[in-house]
Amino acid sequence: MLQEIGVGSIDDLFIDVPKTIDGYNIPDGKDEFTVRKLVEELARKNKTFEPEFVFLGAGIYYHYIPTVVKHLAANPNFVTAYTPYQAEVSQGTLQMLFEYQTMMCELTGMEVANSSMYDGASSFAESLLMATRITGKYKMLVARTINPEYRTVARTYTKPIGIKIEELGYTELGTVNLDELKAKLDDETAAVAVAYPNFFGFIEDLKAIRSLIPQNVVFIVVAEPVSLALLEAPGKFGADIVIGEGQSLGVTPNLGGPGIGFFTTLEKHVRKMPGRLIGQTKDLEGKIGYVMILQTREQHIRREKATSNICSNQAYIALINAIYLSVMGPQGLREVAYRSYNNAHYLAKKLEEAGFAKIFSGEFFNEFVVRVPDDYRNRWHEMAKNGILGPIPIDRVYKELGPSALVCATEVNTKESMDKLVEVMKK
């Protein structure tokens, strides 16, 4: 090959490159059997928990994942394909994403979904940027009951372009303070954002909130997708943008990543929307096919005027979501949502009986906050040693609450495991 190229050595191909190093200070490569041992050793230094003994949610949830999900998603023609730049040999990807978009529209009650964002937090951040593009305004009213990490990420994203985020407090119901909302709303307000259910697990009254917000203010809802099988779709209440984290739809916890951000909106806003969109079309013989559409919004064409810089996204996780939703269907997802709801309420009652008072009195979905003893954090570590991933203490983030923990239950918890938790927490 060198001869064909007309050079004498490989080094000749690198004449332009300043030789600043001669190789790396990195050990030599290893065969796969040795590598396997090394990585397995690291894996053994982690502790994994039986899902039924996990009571930790806070944005990442353990759910039953049907066996087929993993099997189908493992197909190398999904795993090792790239962005469908050549649509004719990417119909698998494109149709899958089109169907994913449809499912997310259905869950949220919205008209358009993109084909994925990095995670719930970056989706949230992008929704605020989009609100500014829609309204030309820079003031955001953001509920303090939105996931704290989402709000941190949003601040990181929005600060450079001058967006100002004002927080909306919560009441003893555990939901957004409507009086404060009324007071802070003004002509400068671009958007109001709440979570549904919120970080504490409580169900915001979207109807009441929307009724307070003028039509030209963008209404953003951060939704937990499993809950939407039980709760009315935000689209029905006049949301402009509904976003969230899709991990709970068939994705393992993965130490928090990869998950997936979903992003939905209304057709009238679509040209302000970030991310990739797949649309239906026909081929020259009239056969239905799918392609990327509205790419003029995107960075590779519109460059600095793009609606976002996102390019690589989480398409593979969208596949997992789509397979999961296909297996579960409307009935299965509702069963999951209802069991999660019911388990959380059973657990709340048991914990209350055991002396762990609920801090909020509103209606919650599958999480809620309880008062805990001052030394709870130690107990939490202790429980982990014994195979229970208990409710996470949240008083470092919500200092105003005092000693408190966020309790989570999903359909994977059992009566037995919940009774056990109550018993262990009492000690």
Partner: protein, 477 residues
């Protein structure tokens, strides 16, 4: 057929375990309860299996064949990476710190390896993709200039016209003004042009090196000096790192901020468009601005440092796409230091071989020794034959190959940007050359044949234009 058309009311593909928790009743206010169930598929397990199995059959992939997308580095993804990632799927990001010791250690070790590879002093693994890393890097630059009191005056980011589209978009998101500068006649940054725009209003110069023409910016040390002389920072777009491993490091060339695409250089699969991972390495003076948490060595152990008061905050939740990190880590262990150098050697060798072979039939935009990729300029070819780059790309699909990146970089008209990667054999490269030569011949003898391509794919050529003009965003009954 869509999965929705396979659906039949009442059919189901799941079963949950028996349930014995007493029913507490549902207290959700009526108006907040869902009335109409979402129209999700109602299908059996076998329906689901067949649907997705048949969709997969309609995809081209690296596991099927050659995928020479320029600047995308579609190398082979070793299967062991997947197995290793599977060992870490059950961890909750908020588990007690002491129960994720192995995961933290892996991130810590990976960070050190990547710092060694990039020649940087510190790094965040949090960004989920290349563009996400770019944004992170620019936010770090912004925080730095704010901290040293220069943000008011430094509003500009300089980007060559050959840069990836994400560069200007990221700069804009970070609140900077984008200055595009034209490349010189040799395809590299034009130093005169750069000088014209370079002063103390410039915050950052973003470069891809080798650039998107596959050419190494040979004046890079001069450019670095020019940037630093006016107090600007130099940003490295890591999309093309696969060309230079083991010979030089961005940090050594003077770059202050370096992004990596683990899904390119470090062999993690592309997953139809993601998840990727875009770590950002920085020189020591920029470390205080990294997003939290930063993994740091503390004695023999690694810790998660959240205590960075000057940090830009976070760019996503938790630790980024952690499973992607596991795959990249596995790859680096497998290749080792020498192996990574060999990767670049072979990537560049393959690209040059292809370039020389194809130069006999096609015009190479800058026909000199290239790095890991090069660009064909089909402008004359199209004028002569009426067959455009798009047609050639579609015709390649009929030959069972994926097409190169087309119409990029924008500075070459009718461009075809070809990156073979190091994992392809000479045999595969020869097959590609042969297909290209046959298509060139077809274009002369029977241009309509090429313009009508593809013929053998699951669908024929698709109508993009009306798809955007009359968009159908979702399936409707």
């Amino acid at each position: 057929m869509t999965i929705f058309e396979r659906s039949k009311p009442g059919r189901k593909g799941y079963e949950l375990p028996a349930y014995d928790v007493p029913d507490s009743g549902c207290n959700v206010p009526e108006h907040l309860l869902r009335k109409d169930p979402p129209m999700l598929p109602e299908v059996s397990e076998v329906d689901v299996v067949r649907h997705y199995t048949n969709l997969a059959l309609k995809n081209y992939s690296v596991d099927r064949g050659f995928y020479p997308l320029g600047s995308c580095t579609m190398k082979y993804n070793p299967k062991i990476n997947e197995d290793m990632a599977m060992l870490f799927t059950q961890l909750h990001p908020f588990q007690p710190r002491e129960t994720i010791e192995g995961a933290v250690q892996l991130m810590g070790h990976l960070k050190e390896l990547l710092c060694e590879i990039t020649g940087t002093d510190d790094m965040t693994l949090q960004p989920a993709a290349g563009a996400h890393g770019e944004l992170t890097g620019l936010l770090i630059a912004r925080a730095y200039f704010e901290d040293i009191g220069e943000l008011e005056k430094r509003k500009k980011v300089i980007v060559p016209d050959s840069a990836h589209g994400t560069n200007p978009a990221s700069a804009a998101m970070a609140g900077f003004e984008v200055i595009e500068i034209k490349s010189g006649p040799d395809g590299c940054v034009d130093l005169e042009e750069l000088k014209k725009h370079l002063d103390d209003t410039v915050a950052v110069i973003m470069l891809t090196n080798p650039n998107t023409l596959g050419l190494f910016e040979k004046d890079i040390l001069t450019i670095a000096k020019m940037a630093h002389d006016v107090g600007a920072l130099l940003y490295y777009d890591g999309a093309n790192l696969n060309a230079i491993m083991g010979r030089t490091r961005p940090g050594d060339m003077g770059f202050d901020i370096v992004h990596l695409n683990l899904h390119k250089t470090f062999s993690t699969p592309h997953g139809m468009g993601g998840p990727g991972s875009g770590p950002i390495g920085v020189k020591a003076r920029l470390a205080p601005y990294l997003p939290v948490p930063v993994v740091r060595k503390s004695g023999e152990k690694y810790e998660l440092d959240y205590n960075l008061p000057k940090s830009i905050g976070m760019v996503r939740t938790f630790y980024g796409n952690f499973l992607v990190l596991v795959k990249a880590y596995t790859y680096i262990l497998t290749m080792g230091g020498k192996g990574l150098k060999h990767v670049s050697d072979m990537a560049v060798l393959n690209a040059n071989y292809l370039r020389v072979k194809l130069s006999k039939t096609f015009k190479i935009a800058y026909d000199r020794i290239c790095m890991h990729e090069f660009v064909i300029d089909n402008e004359e070819f199209a004028k002569k034959t009426g067959v455009k780059t798009l047609d050639i790309a579609k015709r390649l699909l009929d030959y069972g190959l994926h097409a190169p990146t087309i119409y990029f970089p924008l500075i070459v008209h009718e461009a075809m940007m070809i990156e073979p990667t190091e994992t392809e054999s000479k045999q595969t490269l020869d097959t590609f050359v042969e297909a290209m030569e046959r298509i060139a011949k077809e274009a002369q003898e029977n241009p309509q044949l090429v313009k009508g391509a593809p013929y053998t794919t699951p669908v024929r050529r698709l109508d993009d234009v009306s798809a955007t003009k009359y968009p159908v965003f979702r399936f409707k009954r």
